[in-house]
Symmetry: C2
């Protein structure tokens, strides 16, 4: 009881921080009128897009809300609503800060790199802490409402279903936002570059390019709002899955409430350590931006170690735990492993995407022999980049399982995600500086400003890859947790078959001997591939439409290129808005409908009845693992590979292998273009896709039980 | 007894056919002295490479032979030797025919397209029938020797182990040949194109390019010898796995010998139908090459239906079968499904790689907006191309399992592969016509000859993709069979623990709840990615070396470009030979060592003893499925995507989107270059990689049991 209110307090702290930081950002100098005009156009486009995106998702959401209310009751439907609204809010607020911080960062960068970093990072930290804080508040308050106010038992089915539905609400926003935003931003980026840089020979962010504003809008709706929704979802779903497991494993234990509170408490304490960590981000004498960010991250990590220890001491103690074979100490060690996995994944991702190491250099050097070899080497690196993270995840699973079984893995994953506030802060400053660079270019600010924002942006490429690796890594580590939630739920319904007659005689068999399991694995495995294909095609189509539009404007208004006529920026934004909204629907519904489709098809093929149900439940369960087994590799290869391509181009632009304008540079631009939809559309959307498949499977169980 | 000798007779027929066809090929006109000179250079290079490759594999082979002889006895080691030698022989003979048929095809194409097709196809059919025939003879004769001459029981451990070792021998040759040949051919192709077409602006196969001969050598060692070894292995391993299952399922049944003979008999009858089918390949009035090939394939398929029916009638009858719940009729239906899966995969692959359909056209059209969009669309298509084959495989598993359980799946896979003779024939004519085109170009034959060989070559791109899809598809369909062989073997040893004390107290748990299973799935899933990365990098490196070498020759002998000096072709061949041999070692050993590595690492982590063994056996089993779950998608996406890129280029060269020399064409050349290592090195090598992982796991069991 007390614990929950302390956790709520921690969550509230994140909001206090956000308000303070926002007012501090807004107080800084917003630059000259030209800069403000450009920023206003970007803000307007971003808000218009987000409004439309949320309206579209809203329509899908209303249908799902009604279905959930009908099948599972109002409390569960409200859980769904809370998850969806808060996830949307995190993205919306973050984006609104971002579109105000961009111009101020450009202005601050006119005086110093440190000033630019401080402002941009503060803006990022607002998004980061809101993501973690709102997710924590949503889950905690609704859990408190259901258990304290409504008086339900902590592991009552309604509580569990409502929490799962909350995760579903977050996931639904997340997949649409990731995909829609990703298609928008990369359609603008790829299309704008092709027709501007390649055809017209004008630099990136040149105000004569009608797609420039759209490109900057895209940074905000894709890299900021989309990413925020994704991490909100990852955070919420992991916390919920851990709580569901606690509800099952400790159903008869006096520790039930403490154990269900534990993931929330870890989240709460890590919000405080994340807030403290943000104050450590300061540019040192070495002027290393990555170094400044690492200081903040390391401070947060070290403090979190203490924080998690304190939480465990306070809630359950380090000693023996009633009813289980592991100690509180073992759970603490699992938390430490979660932090270690985070650190290792960050380190590996930096190795594969940073300009200082072999992978990026090898792509840059293979650009010398042409477009083809650049892409071949990039693809090779993208595939190679999956090996070490996979091994870290495998090691994490093995060690935490040996320490404290499934619940140990869950605690490790929770602790890993508790750092989300800080990690998202590291990422969300990227689009702000990217925008700042665009505004500097368009407003004709001195070259040094662009140099500062470019330096910040290069680091942003790595931190963006890191966040995505982190999100998908947590899904990999949590694979067993998500599967276990499904399996334990299923066991629960079967054990209570008299109350849930649908499960009478059901006997699922998750052994690899069972052909339905193999079929499920293969079907799950196919989802990330099909999903990725749809995402890539959508970007290609959107980019093609932009190319046509820009060509049309250049043709019909020859004054644009001479600078005597103004391009119609709004047209490109509008076109992309429509394209992104239209293209996001089908791929987003793929993971929502797949578990249902697989269930009923296998049920029918296996002859219906209890045998059909058993086969279908087995196939759906295997599908949940299949989607992770390929999804992990698809997502890591795409996000790391894309980051490496992008930085290989930057490495050449820094003067290696012939520098800007050389043939090697042209080849590197091709690689960067290929990497764009890889790293910002298809790759990152795989993570919410995996989660949504899992969550829908859990809801399917609940609905069948009714 | 009689049955085995009839099967041997069928196998012998394939050799008779090969001898007849070879003499008929050799009798045709070998062209003018210039053509013969070029062909001789290609033949010399190919033979030199293959000799060296076999010597290197031989060294690895001797070590493995000694290990097998020591651990499992001489009979098992001899099985390994038979598999390795026959697989090598199929590739060696096929390649030797191919390097003689190329020049004769060029000469025949001077008179008519039909003449070129007939000669090239006959050469391909020699390789095809030798692959199927030698594999069948090897397995059948050794099985007959062990059971009839040595008097061992059909399901004696020695017989089973010897057959598995035979599969291992074939797999070992296969992975080295696929990878080594793939690195050679694509290093030459990519490197030669980059420096010739792109830098020097001379056409493909121009005699002034020092890498031309190497490129033609590559076609023979990669596309011909490598592919032959791969299909030999697939055929042998599938037959062996089915026999192993029969040995287990019918251990106490009077049908034991008949059931173990059944896969061999299906193979035998399909050799006859394949030979008949080759005579149906005739260019019709429509001049459709694909149509001519389809006539042969359809004839073979239709006759095989009757053939399989006859075999089942003769060996086991259509009625009830003693000791199992399914009938002979059900097994026949499984065979029909195997044929249907083959047909569907061919049709889907043609859709994704043929120039008449949306996918290839979409890549061609996206080339208009540049290199980047071509690659993006190509990647999107490559991922999309996995969905339908996966669904066909899933359907195949579901239906055959419901008809006749695991053995039904095995019979379907066997029947699918029984068509290998015909399928390989469709594929192996590709490198012959590719070479013929090269020889025509280098010898300065009239343009029409090149047009004919190009037309044949375009179809070859599709049939090449088909063969690879077919091979990997059979692995997907057979996934459960391979896993079952492992699982049943393990059960056997556990049940006979008194005789095999190592297995005392071992209790493997293949359920998805088991974290060791999840870890195994993830580790298996990572293998195709790491393997693909190594393969792609190797091609990039080899191609880079070729670029340097050709640049050096152009620089040091300026007369080459004027046509007054001759390039040193041998240097490029020699360089690639060394590079390919060196680069193939590490990736080839990855799947050989992985099962052993996983077993002992997990054994140690899980605390040793019986619990450690149980965990380790579970993880290794899961790894076998993990490697298929990602491998299936990696391989199909690479081979179909690569084929689509290649034909998108051809589509543009046919005059669409600006035709040859346009910007779209340049972009399409980039896509083709990227697709090269995808479709001819990394992608196809995944299939033997999967098999070898499975076979090594089986051998590991056998060794631990000793």
């Amino acid at each position: 009881m007390t614990a929950l209110w302390v956790i709520v307090l921690c969550g509230a702290l994140s909001i206090v921080y956000a308000i303070w930081a926002t007012s501090s950002v807004l107080k800084s100098d917003a630059g000259n009128p030209r800069m403000q005009e450009i920023a206003a156009a970007v803000a307007e486009g971003a808000q218009a897009y987000l409004r439309r995106q949320y309206m579209t998702i809203g329509m899908v959401g209303v249908v799902i809300f009604a279905l959930l209310a009908y099948f599972l009751g109002m409390l569960v439907a409200i859980g769904f609503l809370i998850g969806a609204v808060l996830s949307g809010a995190a993205g919306f607020i973050g984006m609104n800060v971002s579109v105000r911080a961009n111009v101020r960062t450009a202005q601050a960068a006119t005086t110093s790199l440190a000033g630019g970093l401080e402002l941009a990072f503060k803006a990022g930290a607002i998004t980061g802490l809101l993501v973690a804080g709102l997710a924590l508040l949503g889950v905690t308050i609704y859990f408190a409402y259901l258990t304290q106010f409504m008086g339900l038992k902590a592991n009552d089915r309604v509580v569990v279903d409502a929490l799962v539905a909350l995760g579903f609400g977050a996931s639904l926003i997340s997949i649409f936002a990731r995909l829609g935003g990703g298609i928008f931003t990369k359609g603008a980026d790829v299309g704008g570059d092709l027709v501007g840089k390649v055809e017209a020979g004008i630099p990136e962010d040149d105000p004569r390019n009608p797609a420039t504003i759209a490109d900057n809008v895209g940074d905000n709706v894709g890299d900021c709002a989309g990413m925020a929704a994704d991490l909100f979802e990852t955070y919420a779903v992991t916390a919920v899955a851990t709580m569901v497991l606690a509800a099952i494993f400790f159903a008869t234990s006096p520790l039930l409430v403490s154990m269900m509170t534990l993931p929330l408490a870890i989240g709460g304490v890590c919000i405080i350590t994340s807030i403290i960590g943000t104050f450590f981000v300061k540019l040192g004498a070495s002027q290393s931006i990555m170094g400044a960010l690492y200081k903040g991250l390391i401070a947060t990590g070290a403090l979190s170690l203490l924080g998690v220890a304190a939480v465990i001491h306070w809630l359950i103690g380090f000693g023996e735990l009633a009813g289980v074979k592991y100690t509180g100490m073992a759970l603490f060690q699992c938390g430490v492993i979660g932090l270690a996995v985070t650190g290792l994944i960050i380190w590996i991702t930096e190795y594969y995407t940073g300009t200082d190491y072999r992978p990026v250099k090898s792509i840059a050097s293979s650009s010398v022999t042409g477009h083809g070899t650049n892409v071949i080497q990039g693809l090779a690196i993208s595939m190679e980049a999956t090996a070490m993270p996979a091994i870290v995840i495998i090691a994490g699973i093995l060690v935490t399982y040996s320490l404290a079984g499934l619940f140990g893995i869950a605690i490790a994953t929770t602790t890993m995600l508790a750092l989300a506030g800080m990690i998202v802060a590291l990422d969300a400053f990227g689009p702000v500086t990217d925008n700042a660079g665009g505004i500097a270019e368009m407003a004709g600010l001195p070259k040094e400003v662009r140099k500062s924002t470019d330096a910040l942006d290069a680091v942003g490429n790595t931190t963006k890859a890191v966040t995505k690796g982190y999100a998908i890594g947590s899904a990999g580590l949590g694979a067993l947790v998500l599967f276990a939630a499904y399996n334990e739920d299923l066991k629960f319904f079967i054990a209570n078959a008299p109350k849930h007659p649908y499960f009478q005689g059901v006997l699922p068999d998750f052994s690899l001997n069972n052909p339905y399991v193999v079929v499920g694995l293969l079907f799950g495995g196919l989802l990330p591939y099909l999903f990725g294909a749809l995402g890539m095609t959508a970007v290609g189509r959107a980019a093609g439409a932009i190319v046509e539009e820009v060509r049309r404007q250049f043709r019909e208004k020859p004054g644009i290129m001479q600078g005597t006529d103004k391009p119609d920026y709004g047209k490109a934004v509008d076109l992309l808005t429509k394209a992104a909204i239209k293209e996001m629907i089908v791929p987003s519904l793929l993971p929502v409908l797949s578990p249902i489709f697989v269930y009923f098809v296998i049920y029918a093929i296996a002859g219906g009845g209890a045998a059909g149900k058993s086969a279908a439940f087995s196939a759906v369960g295997a599908m949940l693992l299949g989607v992770i087994v390929t999804g992990l590799f698809v997502a890591i290869s795409m996000t790391s590979g894309g980051g490496a391509w992008d930085n290989a181009k930057k490495y050449i632009e820094d003067g290696h292998f012939g520098g800007k304008g050389s043939d090697a540079h042209k080849a590197a631009v091709t690689g960067d273009t290929v990497g764009d939809p890889y790293k910002d559309t298809a790759g990152p959307a795989v993570n919410p896709m995996i989660k949504i498949t899992n969550i829908v499977a859990l809801l399917l169980l609940a609905i069948l039980a009714h």
